[in-house]
Symmetry: C2
Subunit: 458 residues, 2 copies
C-alpha cells in the first residue's frame, strides 16, 4: 500500500519534494513528545503550496492512507507523530508572510511561518501578535493554530484561537476551502474556523491563516517574588486574582528549573528560593505602577520571603528567559514527561501540593513551571536515561496528576493538546455522550478517516 500511495503522490508532486528513503524520513517520525509511540513514514512531502497539500491529501484518500500534518515538530503531546507507513506533510517551507494590514489589524500567513518571525514582522507596523508559546523561536503558526497554543501572555491576552480570523485548509474530501472572514465580526454559519483550531490536523490541513493583531502594549513592569514553598506561591497567585489585578504574565518557576537553566547557561540566577513567581503588568503610566505595587503586596501577604518590583529590566528579562529555557534545560538531565493540566485558580495551591505528594510517593523528580495566573501547570517528570523502573513510576505519577486535575474541576490539557499522550485523559474528562459528539464531528468532516487518525480521539 505504501508504495502505491507514494507513486500516486509522485504523479502530482516533483520528486525533490518527496522524501522516501528511510534515513531521511526518520527525522519526521515524531514531535517532542518522546514518550509517545511513533512509526516510520512511507513518505514526507515537503509542501511548497496549497496545491501540494491538496494533491497529497487526495492521493491519501484514494489509497486510504493516513496523512499527518507537521510544522516545526515542537509539539509536546505527539499530535504530529507518524505511524508506520503514514504520509507526513511537512509545512515548514510554506513560510511566507502574505500580508500585514495595519488598518484591518490582521496578517495573512502561510502555516510554516515561525511565531517569532510573525511577531517581528508586525512589530515594524507597531502591531503585536500576542500568542507566545515557549517554543515561539521555532514553532510555526500552523502548528500553533492546530494545537491552539497558549503561552505566557494568555492570562491577559488569550490563546491562539482568540486571534484566528480565517483559515484556508485542505479538508477531508481533499478540497481547498476557506473558513472564517476578514471582518472584525461575523456570524454567517457555524464557526468551523474555531472548530478546526486545536484539532491537530484531524479535521483538515491548514494551508493559510489570517490572524488578528493588536497595537503593541505599553512597556511592562516586572514584579518578582521568592517563596519558601510551592503552596505559598500558589496562594500568592490566588491573591493576585482576588485583588482584581490582570497581569500580562504570571509565571512560576521552581528551584529545579532555575538550577538546570543556571547549570546550562550560567545566567547567575538566584536559586536561594524554592519557588520564584514572575508577574508583569502592562497598564500605562500610574495605573501600571499602582497595580505593580499591589502585586508586590499580594506576594508578601501570601508569605514571600522577598518581593519587589524590578528596577532592572535586564534582570527581569533574564528571569523570563530562564522560564522559556526551563524545558530544554531539564531535557539535558534525562527524558522529560511534560504535564499540562489546568485547574481553577482557587485550586492552584491544592493542585501544586498534590503534585508534590505524587512526586514523593512515586520517588520521581518533578520540576514545576507554570503559567500560574491561568492555573495552567507544567509539572515536568524527569527520569534518568535507561532507568525503566523510574519510567514506569513516572507514567503512574503522570496518570495520577491527570486524575487529580479532573478531580479539582480542571482539564487534562491547558495548551499542549491531546495528541496521543492525553487521549486517556480526554476520555476521563468528558462523558461518553460528549465523546460521541466529538466522534460524530470527526466522522462528518473526515469521512475517509485519513486525517491524522488516532490523534485526539482513539
Amino acid at each position: 500500500m505504501s508504495a502505491t500511495v507514494v507513486r500516486a503522490i509522485l504523479e502530482h508532486i516533483p520528486a525533490d519534494r518527496v522524501l522516501t528513503d528511510p534515513d531521511s524520513v526518520e527525522a519526521f517520525r515524531r514531535d517532542q513528545a518522546a514518550w509517545a509511540p511513533s512509526g516510520r513514514p512511507a513518505a514526507v512531502v515537503r509542501a511548497r503550496s496549497t496545491h501540494d497539500v491538496a494533491e497529497t491529501v487526495r492521493a491519501c484518500i484514494r489509497h486510504r492512507t493516513p496523512v499527518v500534518a507537521r510544522g516545526a515538530g515542537t509539539g509536546l503531546s505527539g499530535g504530529a507523530n507518524s505511524g508506520d507507513g503514514h504520509v507526513v506533510v511537512a509545512l515548514a517551507a510554506m513560510d511566507r508572510i502574505v500580508e500585514v494590514s495595519p488598518l484591518e489589524r490582521l496578517a495573512v500567513v502561510q502555516p510554516g511561518v515561525v511565531n517569532d518571525h510573525l511577531r517581528a514582522a508586525v512589530a515594524e507596523h507597531g502591531l503585536w501578535y500576542p500568542p507566545d508559546p515557549a517554543s515561539s523561536p521555532w514553532s510555526t503558526i500552523g502548528g500553533n493554530v492546530a494545537t491552539n497554543a497558549g503561552g505566557v501572555c494568555c492570562v491577559k491576552y488569550g490563546v491562539t484561537g482568540d486571534y484566528v480570523l480565517a483559515l484556508e485548509m485542505v479538508n477531508g474530501r481533499g478540497e481547498i476551502v476557506r473558513l472564517g472572514r476578514r471582518t472584525a465580526k461575523g456570524v454567517a454559519g457555524y464557526d468551523l474556523t474555531g472548530l478546526v483550531v486545536g484539532s491537530e490536523g484531524t479535521l483538515g490541513i491548514i494551508t493559510e491563516v489570517t490572524v488578528r493583531l493588536r497595537p503593541l502594549p505599553p512597556a511592562a513592569v516586572t514584579v518578582a517574588g521568592h517563596f519558601g514553598s510551592i503552596v505559598d506561591a500558589g496562594a500568592a497567585v490566588q491573591a493576585v486574582a482576588a485583588a482584581g489585578l490582570t497581569p500580562s504574565a504570571l509565571e512560576l518557576i521552581d528551584r529545579h528549573c532555575l538550577r538546570a537553566v543556571d547549570a546550562w547557561k550560567n545566567m547567575g540566577l538566584s536559586v536561594d528560593a524554592d519557588v520564584v513567581l514572575l508577574g508583569r503588568i502592562d497598564e500605562p503610566g500610574e495605573t501600571g505602577a499602582a497595580q505593580a505595587e499591589r502585586m508586590v503586596d499580594c506576594f508578601r501577604e501570601a508569605g514571600a520571603s522577598w518581593a519587589e518590583r524590578s528596577t532592572d529590566e535586564h534582570e527581569a528579562d533574564a528571569l523570563f528567559a530562564a522560564r522559556r529555557l526551563a524545558y530544554p534545560a531539564l531535557e539535558r538531565l534525562g527524558p522529560v514527561l511534560t504535564e499540562d493540566v489546568c485547574v481553577p485558580k482557587e485550586r492552584i495551591a491544592e493542585m501544586l501540593g498534590r503534585i508534590e505528594k505524587t512526586a514523593a510517593r512515586h520517588d520521581i523528580l518533578i520540576a514545576n513551571i507554570a503559567h500560574a495566573g491561568d492555573g495552567n501547570l507544567h509539572p515536568l517528570l524527569i527520569t534518568q536515561p535507561g532507568d525503566d523502573a523510574a519510567r514506569t513510576r513516572a507514567q503512574e505519577a503522570f496518570a495520577e496528576i491527570i486524575a487529580d486535575a479532573i478531580d479539582l474541576g480542571g482539564t487534562v490539557t491547558g495548551e499542549h493538546g491531546v495528541g496521543v499522550l492525553k487521549r486517556p485523559g480526554l476520555a476521563a474528562e468528558i462523558t461518553p455522550e460528549v465523546m460521541a459528539m466529538q466522534r460524530a464531528v470527526k466522522q462528518a468532516l473526515d469521512p475517509y478517516g485519513v486525517l491524522n487518525p488516532g490523534k485526539v480521539l482513539s
Copy 2:
C-alpha cells in the same frame, strides 16, 4: 402528529407549563424579524428546568417534530420563528444566576437571565460582562449565546462567543451534556462550545451558560463628531483605526435615526448634522485623555463640521441612549427590515456610499445606524404599512446590500445571525464545499433533524 407530540410532552411536564390554545401560542410564533415567515406552534413549553427541556426534545425526537428554542424573542433574523405545528421551548422562566465567582472571574447562569440583569449582578462584585447588544434590557443570555450577539463594546472587547467558557445543553439525541470548562484555558478535544455559540438552536438547546467576566473598565471619555455626509463619517472611522486607536465604542447614527428618536422621546438631540459619530475611550488617566484628543483630530481631519470631547457625561449618555433607541423609534414609522452586513474597515466609506445609492435607486428610506468601528452596518429599510410595492422594492434593496457586502469582502451577518432572513445570503457568501461541511456538522449533531430545522441552513 401535533396532538401526539403534545400528549407525549404532557406525560412528562405539568400542564400548567404547556400552552396549546391557539391564542396563547400565537404570541410565541416569531421573533422581531417581522419580514420572515412563521407558523403557529402546536405547543409552547415554558421550561423551568433542564429536565423540562430534555423531556421536550426527547418527545420531539420520538415524534419527529421540530423544536424551536426561544429566549426573549428579540432576534432580528427569524432564528426563533416557529413553523406550523412546531414545539417552542420558551426559556425565559429559567432566569436564575447560579453563581458569580470573583476569583475565577466567571458567572454561571440559566439561559433566561436578561443581559442587563447579569451585568448588574456582577457589577456588585466589581466585575463586568461586556457583550452589550442594543436589546440588553430585554434579551437573554441564552439567546445572546445562540446568536453570538454583538453590541457596542465589541470593537474593543469582542462578542458574546469570546465570553462563553462552558455550556450545558440538550443535544440532538435528547441527552443533557456539558461542553467546555471552568478553567481559563483548555484544549481537551474539539471546541464544541464554540461550535454551538451562534448555532441558533440548530445543534442543541442551551440550558446553562458559564461566562467569563472582566474587571470593570475605567470611566470612559466620549468624543462626538458631526458630519455632512455618511461617506465622510466612514472616512473618519478608517482614520481612527489607522491612527492605532482602540475605542471601546465607535457608533454611527444618521439624521433619520436621530429625528425618529427625538420625535418619540423628545430628548432634544441635535439634528443639524447628517451623521453623528460617537466614540468612547476607556484607557486610564492621561493615556485615555490623549487618545480622546487624537480621536477628535481624526474626526476633524476626515471633514467633521464639529468634533469635541464631551465634557457633559449626561449629554454623552443621551447620545448613546439615542443609539439604542433608534431601532424601536424607527419601527414606529412603519415595518423595518434590518440589515446587518459587516465589511472590512477600508471598505466602510464605500459600503455606506453604495447603500445611499441603493436607497435612491429603489426609492426606499434607508436609515443608518452602525457599529462603525467594527465595519458592522445596520441599514434600516423602512416602508409604510400596507405599501406592497415599497415592500417589494425594500426586499430588492436588501438583496443588493447583501451582494455589495460580499463584493467588498464582507459578511452578510455581523451579529444578528442567519436565521431565515440571511439563508440566501449565507449561500452566496460561502462556497458549496463549505456549505457541505456545514451540513455535515448539522447532520452529525442533529441526526433526527428536529433541532430548529430550516434555520441557518435550508
